[in-house]
C-alpha cells in the first residue's frame, strides 16, 4: 500500500490566514495549543463555543519570548506562553478530495475494480502537509478558578449556559509516555 503525502508550495493566497497576533504563536494558517488534560464536551460539539482566547499584545517583543496568552473556559482561567518546539512539526491533513472522488464515480469500471480489490483499494487516504509549525502555545498550569467581578470582566457577555458544558479534565503531570509502534492501518 502506498499513501502519498502532498507537499504544497507555500502560497498562502488561497488559504485563510489567522490574525497576525495569533499567527505569532504558530504558523500563518495554524496554531497548536497544548493543554494539560483534554477538552471534553457533553452532547453535540458542532460549533460549540469553548472559551475566550486572549493574546497579550503588551508583552510582545520580538527579542524575547515573553509573549503570553490566556484562555478563559467557563470560570477557569488558563495562563499560556509561547514555546519553541524542539523539532518542527508538520501538520498533516487528510485530503477531503481523496475519498469522495472514488465513491462518487459510479462508473462500471470503478465498481468492478472496487469489488475485486475490496475495501482496501476503495479508500486510499491521501495526506497533505498543511503547514510546518515551529512554535506552540502551551497552557501548562492548572486552571485558576475565577469568581465575581474578574470572572465577569473576562467572560464578557457570555452566559453561563453557553460555557457550562465544557470541562477540562484529566490532569496528568508527565508529558511523554512511550514511543510505540505505529502501524500502517492507523492512517
Amino acid at each position: 500500500m502506498l499513501i502519498p503525502i502532498h507537499v504544497e508550495s507555500h502560497d498562502s493566497s488561497s488559504k485563510r490566514s489567522l490574525p497576525p497576533q495569533l499567527a505569532q504563536f504558530g504558523a500563518d494558517e495554524i496554531v497548536l495549543i497544548e493543554l494539560q488534560g483534554a477538552l471534553e464536551v457533553e452532547g453535540d460539539s458542532r460549533g460549540q463555543f469553548v472559551g475566550k482566547l486572549r493574546v497579550d499584545a503588551t508583552t510582545v517583543s520580538p527579542m524575547s519570548f515573553q509573549k503570553s496568552a490566556s484562555l478563559l473556559i467557563g470560570h477557569h482561567l488558563l495562563e499560556g506562553k509561547l514555546v519553541n518546539l524542539p523539532k518542527p512539526l508538520a501538520v498533516l491533513h487528510r485530503s477531503a478530495t481523496g475519498r469522495p472522488n472514488n465513491q462518487d464515480a459510479p462508473t462500471d469500471d470503478m465498481l468492478i475494480d472496487d469489488d475485486i480489490h475490496g475495501p482496501r483499494k476503495a479508500d486510499p487516504p491521501s495526506w497533505a502537509v498543511m503547514a510546518i509549525v515551529k512554535r506552540k502555545m502551551v497552557f501548562s498550569n492548572r486552571p485558576m478558578p475565577m469568581v465575581g467581578k474578574i470572572a465577569n470582566r473576562y467572560s464578557g457577555c457570555k452566559t453561563r449556559e453557553d460555557v457550562g458544558s465544557i470541562v477540562i479534565c484529566n490532569y496528568i503531570v508527565c508529558r511523554r509516555r512511550a514511543s510505540l509502534r505505529f502501524m500502517l492501518t492507523f492512517f
Binding site: 502532498h6 494558517e29 497548536l32 494539560q36 482566547l53 518542527p88 508529558r175 500502517l184 492512517f187
Partner: protein, 391 residues
C-alpha cells in the same frame, strides 16, 4: 490586547481524525521548506497493513513511531469560509479542528528490502530461460493455466508499492541483489549465469580489443547474443550493474567486476574451504592478465570467513563462502548466528557482517554493545556472545 472566540469545529465528522502531527528531522524539514512553487515533493507512506509504517522520501526511509502525549494538542485554524458566517458578532473566531494526543516521530532506518529475497524466490533467470516468451504464449492459450501464471509475475511497480524503501534505495537494492527487469518483471539472475556473463564480458573486451573504460555496448551485447545466446536486454543490464553506461559506451567498474567474479568462484566453497593462495590463483587466472593486479581479498569482505589451518607448514588461511546477505535481518538472531559460526570475532572481522543492517557505524557500535561482550587481550579487542545460559 486581542481577543478571539475559540469554538469547536463546525464540521466535526470530517475534521476529527483528519489531522496528524509529525516531528520532522532537520534534513526533512529543510527539504519540505525548500520546495518551491510548482515543484512536487514525493513523500510516501509505505507498507502492508500489518507492518510498521515507514515514510519514504526520494532517497531515504524513516520508520514512524508514535509518541503518546498525556497533554492534548489542539489544532486551531481560522474558520472555513462558509462556516464563519454563522457567527456575526464581529469578533474574531478561531476553530479547534481536532484534538490530538500523539506525535509521530521519524527514525531513520535502513530500507526494508529483505522481503525481496522471499518475494523473488523461484523467479530466477538462468541459462536456457531465453526462450521463455514462447512458453508463455503456449500457456496463455490454455485459459486455466494462464491465470496462476499471470499472478506469479512480480513487477517493478509491485515492488515499489509493497517494499518499504525509497525509490533510489529500491533501485540500488535491486542492483545490489542483481535483479533483472525483463518486460517489467523482476527476475534475479542466477549466480552461475551472472558469472558466465561476467567472464564472457572480460574475454570479449580483450578479444575485441575494446577499452574497458569506454567499450561499445552494442558491439559487446551482439557478440554475446550471437555466440552465446545471451539476450541483449540481459547483457546490457549486467553492464549497467558493473559500471556506468552513457552514450552507448560502457565504463566498466573494474573492482566491481573483479569482485563479482571472485564471489562467483568463492560460492562453490561453502562447505569445503579452499586455501587462500589457491583461491587467489584461480581468481587471478579467471579475470585475466589485464585486471590481475586488482584482485584483493578486501573486495570480498562480508562474503568469506578466513580460518588458519595448522595442518600445513607454514600455516595457511582457509577461506569459506559466508555471505552476510544470507544471515538473518533481526539483530538478535544475526548475532546468535554469528556467534554460533565463531565463538569470538575481531572488531574488523565482524563489522562487514553487520554493515547491511545498520545505518552508520554509531548504530553498529550500539548493537555490539547490546549483543556482544568485548574482551581485550594482547591481540586487541575480541567480541563474544553476551549470554551463554539463555538456552
Amino acid at each position: 490586547m486581542e481577543e478571539y472566540d475559540l469554538t469547536f469545529s463546525f464540521n466535526p465528522s470530517s475534521d476529527t481524525g483528519a489531522f496528524k502531527l509529525m516531528a520532522l528531522p532537520p534534513e526533512l524539514c529543510k527539504l519540505i521548506e525548500s520546495t518551491g512553487d510548482g515543484e512536487c515533493l514525493s513523500l510516501n507512506i509505505k507498507g502492508q497493513s500489518e507492518e510498521d509504517a515507514v515514510l519514504c522520501t526520494l532517497d531515504k526511509t524513516y520508520t514512524i513511531r508514535s509518541v503518546v502525549l498525556s497533554n492534548s494538542v489542539l489544532v486551531v485554524t481560522p474558520p472555513a469560509v462558509g462556516a464563519a458566517a454563522d457567527r456575526q458578532n464581529g469578533e474574531d473566531v478561531v476553530v479547534i479542528r481536532d484534538q490530538l494526543n500523539e506525535i509521530l516521530e521519524l527514525v531513520p532506518s535502513v530500507p526494508r528490502l529483505h522481503r525481496l529475497n522471499g518475494l523473488l524466490r523461484g523467479r530466477e533467470y538462468d541459462e536456457g530461460h531465453e526462450d521463455e516468451d514462447e512458453d508463455e504464449e503456449d500457456v496463455s492459450s490454455d485459459a486455466e493455466n494462464a491465470r496462476p501464471r499471470k499472478r506469479q509475475k512480480f513487477s517493478y511497480e509491485d515492488a515499489r508499492e509493497t517494499l518499504q524503501a525509497s525509490d533510489i534505495e529500491l533501485h540500488e537494492g535491486l542492483r545490489a541483489r542483481r535483479v533483472l527487469v525483463l518486460d517489467g518483471e523482476l527476475r534475479p539472475i542466477a549466480p552461475s549465469h551472472l558469472n558466465t556473463i561476467l567472464e564472457l564480458l572480460l574475454n570479449y573486451l580483450v578479444s575485441l580489443s575494446l577499452p574497458h573504460d569506454a567499450a561499445d555496448i552494442k558491439e559487446l551485447a551482439s557478440a554475446l547474443e550471437d555466440d552465446h545466446d545471451i539476450k541483449k536486454s540481459v547483457s546490457t543490464q549486467v553492464m549497467g550493474w558493473f559500471g556506468q553506461v552513457s552514450d552507448g559506451k560502457w565504463k566498466m567498474d573494474v573492482d566491481d567486476v573483479v569482485k563479482g567474479v571472485g564471489v562467483g568462484i568463492l560460492r562453490t566453497y561453502k562447505d569445503e574451504p579452499i586455501a587462500q593462495d589457491d583461491f587467489l590463483g584461480k581468481w587471478r587466472k579467471t579475470v585475466g592478465d589485464t585486471f590481475e593486479a586488482r584482485v584483493s581479498l578486501n573486495l570480498l569482505s562480508g562474503n568469506y570467513l578466513s580460518n588458519p589451518s595448522y595442518l600445513t607448514e607454514p600455516p595457511t588461511h582457509m577461506l569459506t563462502y559466508f555471505p552476510s546477505s544470507s544471515l538473518p535481518v533481526d539483530p538478535a538472531t544475526r548475532f546468535t548466528d554469528l556467534f554460533l559460526t565463531r565463538a569470538r570475532w575481531k572488531a574488523e572481522e565482524i563489522s562487514p557482517f553487520l554493515a547491511d543492517i545498520v545505518v552508520n557505524s554509531k548504530e553498529r557500535d550500539k548493537l555490539l554493545l547490546k549483543y556482544a561482550r568485548a574482551i581485550t587481550d594482547t591481540e586487541g579487542i575480541w567480541y563474544t556472545a553476551r549470554a551463554k545460559y539463555n538456552g
